[in-house]
Amino acid sequence: MSDHDTLLAARTAALRESGWGEGFRFVQPRNLAFWVYLLLVGAGAVIWLRYASTEAAAYGEVLIVATVLFGLYGALFWWFTQRIDRYAHQSRKLIAIAFLWGAFAASWAMAANANSPILSLWGKAFGQAWSIDWGAGLTAPFTEELAKGFGVLLLIALAPRLVATAFDGFVLGAFIGLGFQILEDIQYALGSAGEQFGANAVDNAMSTILMRMALGVAAHILYSAVFCTGLVYFLGRPAEPRRRGRGLLLMGTAMLLHGLWDNIGGIAGSTGYLIPLLWVVVIGLAFFTVTRAFNLSVPRERSYMRAVMAPEEAAGTVTAEELDTLAGDRSVRKAYRKAARGHADRRRRDHLLEAAHDLADELARSGGRDDQRVRFARAELARLRAGAPR
């Protein structure tokens, strides 16, 4: 077998293992996970619509403002999360399915039903004061992280080849968390609209909206990304060896962070200045943890990118520097940009890199075969390299 054949075989193996470029069909009547997904997302959506329509009668303006602002906020996070999924891209359809799970099923059909009764049980067992201080932090991390995380079990059953690595768990978990966060934020905004018996509804809601926007960066999106990375490690996938200890550690850390966040009021007590300090500490811990989870899980994705594009480097379609950058981390990308000579050259190099990404995606879609779109993607790279106009 020649070197070229070896590279092509490695590309085929990487594509098969990662599921990169695989299509996803949502409607699967023979799949019980499909029916359970429909049932729970449908039930959650109906419950939320009934809630929102009731609230709209009293706080219609707040509902509109909160939906628009959190919609824009969510769009920003959507863009960012898609941006960090830069190697073996996840299916957009599956990402949308994950988002809807977090928005409707995990929150309204599952966790919301259990949170109040569990808080009430804490109160019955240890007293109301104890429940107010510590109940939320000992309830939501279990109900909400499990409800969100179990969505990944359904996604694995719906698309086993597309949820192949711990990084897939990271990306899908982040989108489940995003869906959960947006609808929870809207609910908090509506809740605060009634704080002064319904007077000054928009003003009250705006302070909650701004607070949730500022502090929400380290909330459900991060917890779920970490939890779901851990869940995939715990379960193991064909492309991701089972690592139960690592999986439990990540899931436990996500729950611990969630619990700390919810118990900040109880920890700080009447020492008001402690609250912002604790916010900073917990947000810092959350960012540290999510960065660790990302760095642990992303190398496998990078190796897939390298395997898919290595035959192109051997054939001279991309340079060794471009291949290293495609499959590299942030520092490599930074070095690639810094190596440019002037603005025009930097722009040209950025275009080359984006075109190389296009070629990788086309190769993944075609299963590594040279079809018309793959050949066109290669021709685009050649055109950009030659500096020819469109």
Binding site: G23, R25, Q28, R30, N31, L32, A33, F34, W35, V36, L39, L40, T54, E55, A57, A58, A105, A109, M110, A111, N113, A114, P117, I118, S120, L121, G123, K124, G127, Q128, A129, W130, I132, D133, T143, L146, A147, F150, G151, L153, L154, I156, A157, G194, E195, Q196, F197, G198, A199, G265, G266, A268, G269, S270
Partner: protein, 210 residues
Amino acid sequence: MANADAARPRDWVPVERRWLGLDRATIPPALVVLALAILMAVVVPAVDHAVPGGTRVRAGDEVALRGGISFVPATGWILTDGVLRGREPRAGAGSTATVTDGPVALTVRTAPFTGTPTALLEQIKDTTDALNGSHGLHITGDVQAVQTAGGQRGVIARYRGTSSDGAIAAFVVDGTGVEVVVTGPPDVPGDPSAAIAGMIASIAPEGGAG
């Protein structure tokens, strides 16, 4: 065999892998998720419902609320929401408290409010009407003045709902609005009105209840 596998469409489930037409491999994860949903939506609320709760009020107890408001609950009633003075959480008292006596419940809620008691009652009425529509509570009687033992002036009105009758009282104490909602079935055994009147009369700024 390998050729047959290669030719099989992705969504094709071989007959020997089916159970009631479903892909057997998808059943365990789907049932695990469904079981968690049932646990959360059915089992946990049922357990909470089955476990008795609340604190029986003893003579001398005082309920603390956010905004430095307190009231003296009637002895023998059950405190189902809220905290007693001296047992406040580290994060401070909450904004609601409920005491019950059988089917009768008295709920007190506090929040910042700068208008008059009449304006507060009007605000409560508007919000309740908007949220509940025809299913909500409808004020039926005249609005009457009421005064607490400590001299706080407020207003009170009777209301009628689809399944309960009661009264709503409103006070404004040092920038804190106080809403009192009494609910109960139309025919209540015994007469709780003296106990209710006593609790409303006991509403006071911190330390002044009673």
